[in-house]
Amino acid sequence: MTATTSDVAATPADDARPLLQVEGLQKYFPVNRGIIFQKEVGAVKAVDGLTFSVAKGETLGVVGETGCGKSTMGRLITRLLEPTGGSIVFNGHDITHMSRGQMRPLRKDVQIIFQDPYSSLNPRHTIGTIVGAPFRLQKVQTESGVKKAVQDLLALVGLNPEHYNRYPHEFSGGQRQRIGIARALALRPKLIVCDEPVSALDVSIQAQVINLLDDLQDEFDLTYVFIAHDLSVVRHISDRVAVMYLGKIVEIGDRVSLYEHPMHPYTHALLSAVPVPDPVKESKRERILLTGDVPSPLNPPPACRFHTRCWKAQAICKQVEPPLVQLQPGHEVACHFPEERVLV
């Protein structure tokens, strides 16, 4: 085990175009009133204009509080949801409004790992059926049968291949998450969206799963979109990190620059709120306490959405929406008063 302290983000291979390109992505969930004659009375703007790209072999971390739209974003780029606006280009295909049938061949290349290892596995199916499902659905021929392929996958994620005929309830949380990972890996996808893959796990098991994801990325040249609310886990696994607030990206940059020189006040608040496991350091740290809760996405504040909780807010923040501008190479911030601050 080498614990080299390389804090330089690996530069992703410069392919001609990014694997995933998202522009102005929007998803509004309509709010209806009435039982028979329904009329739309508003919309939850879960995702409201996201623009980012993910290069091949790279890991993009996405952080934010509950309700900021990070999971919705994950479901949009895997096309489990239909976007309201914007475009998603995956590997050269515009998948924004593809039908289910058109999407199916592409599903081989885009997979998702879900947060809750308890509800994402069918309790009535054996592990063999669950992990073998992608082969059957995509009608993929395997060299020596589906069973062999599944057992290889189980071995790959650190499970015993003899567990082929067991049911999900016979496994612990960490093992179930490995089953979910095996299923996502079955067809050798290009992009895996990890939606809070470790938040339901114990600390010691979290580290095992994170290491596994790391190894698999090296082995199969995977690209991850890693959604999580734990900032330290995201720092560990990501090459670039996007911070979301109420459906928008407020700051995006490579890992080193975002964690060491964060510029958006919201990022400052998030980073300062993470407790560090060191009593002396912890007692000396400055802490930015945000007041109140995240406003409702049904009726988000105008202009800069963070102005209701921001200690730097001035008149302009309530009138003009700050665009996401590049302030340093590879580091974009959407704030009228960006300021570098060292918090980590």
């Binding site: 085990m1 612990s172 010691s204 979290q206 290491n211 560090v276 496991p277 306490l289």
Partner: protein, 354 residues
């Protein structure tokens, strides 16, 4: 803070001096598959105004301990033994009714998931005032006034309006604040917080911890903080108890446990977390294997199948259950390795990688 004396209490036997003293607490559940030893001989002390942290993985018996102290296992199939002394009164042998009279006013609990711990059918105000009205025999109106006062104290805006809201109308952080208001409505001297911030975002977590700290200063209560987040523990507690497989494996002040950890499990916990205050490493160092099932706790030291230093014990690790012994200055550890061996391993192998 009113020091109320309760009538009809059992005279203390060998009186405990600390405000809360738990001696050899055992909570066992008989099941069809065998005896589940959720808590197996746990002892600790806590003074007023102090905070004890209990950390451990899921299934290590943290929550069962807290329910045991509150007497919430009484009348169930659980087998309880040991002693729990709260302010000179023993609770394990006390009747259900006696413990019930103490619950709320002397000790209270904040549960992990406020959405399932609050009743969806009653307003937040009714739930906050319930315990207050029962313990103080006051009218509905006085109860409501108290609920508003408590909601204001925990920082809910326009409490006089929100008091009539139902739990689903509150956000996650506000629900947790309402839970805290409920537990504090009778000024309990002992507050047990069972993963109070696990379901919350970091920004809200910071607010809630801040609130708890303020309230502790104001009321001088003793707090037991149960969590799996070492960051929260470092920030909040005075003493720390590390549990594994229903037993305490390490017990000391927070500084001792963080800076001179003695048990291989504590080393594993400390080195497996990702942390913002250190340089990023290429790989994490997880603890191998997974936590044991409590029905089938490994023989000997419960941690031995996952312990990299088990071979050094010469077979004792898998056969003999280690005792909780003093490693100096009241820092207790349950390990077969000698103090010298632990010191060497920690300084040479563990500390450089933390």
């Amino acid at each position: 803070m009113t020091q109320e004396t309760l009538e009809g209490t059992v005279p203390p036997r060998p009186a405990a001096t600390a405000f809360l003293e738990v001696r050899d607490l055992k909570v066992h559940f008989p099941t069809d598959d065998g005896l589940v030893k959720s808590v197996d001989g746990l002892s600790f002390q806590l003074e007023k105004g102090k905070t004890l942290g209990i950390v451990g993985e899921s299934g290590s018996g943290k929550s069962v301990t807290s329910l045991g102290i509150l007497g919430l296992h009484k009348g169930t199939r659980a087998h309880l033994s040991g002693e729990v002394w709260l302010d000179g009164q023993e609770l394990i042998a006390a009747s259900k009714e006696e413990v019930r009279r103490l619950r709320g006013i002397k000790m209270a609990m904040i549960f992990q998931d406020p959405l399932s711990a609050l009743h969806p059918y009653f307003t937040v105000g009714a739930q906050i005032s319930e315990a207050y009205r029962i313990h103080n025999h006051v009218s509905r109106k006085a109860g409501r006034a108290r609920a508003i006062e408590m909601l204001e104290r925990v920082g809910i805006p326009t409490p006089d309006k929100r008091v009539d809201d139902y739990p689903h109308q509150f956000s996650g952080g506000m629900r947790q604040r309402a839970m805290i208001a409920m537990s504090l409505s009778c000024n309990p001297e002992l507050l047990i917080a069972d993963e109070p911030t696990t379901a919350l975002d970091v920004t809200v977590q910071a607010q809630i911890l801040d609130l708890l700290r303020d309230l502790q200063k104001e009321f001088g209560s003793a707090i037991i903080m149960i969590t799996h987040d070492l960051g929260v523990v470092a920030e909040f507690v005075d003493d720390l108890l590390v549990m594994y497989g229903g037993k305490a494996v390490e017990y000391g002040t927070v500084n001792e446990v963080f800076y001179e950890p003695q048990h291989p499990y504590t080393w594993g916990l400390l080195s497996s977390v990702t942390r913002l205050d250190r340089l990023r490493t290429d790989r994490l160092k997880p603890i191998a294997g997974s936590p044991p099932s409590l029905i089938n706790i490994p023989d000997g030291c419960a941690f031995h199948p996952r312990c990299p230093y088990e071979p050094m014990t010469g077979g004792k690790g898998s056969t003999v259950v280690p005792e909780l012994v003093d490693a100096g200055k009241g820092h207790l550890v349950r390990c077969h390795l000698t103090a010298k061996e632990r010191q060497d391993i920690f300084l040479k192998q563990v500390k450089p990688t933390l």
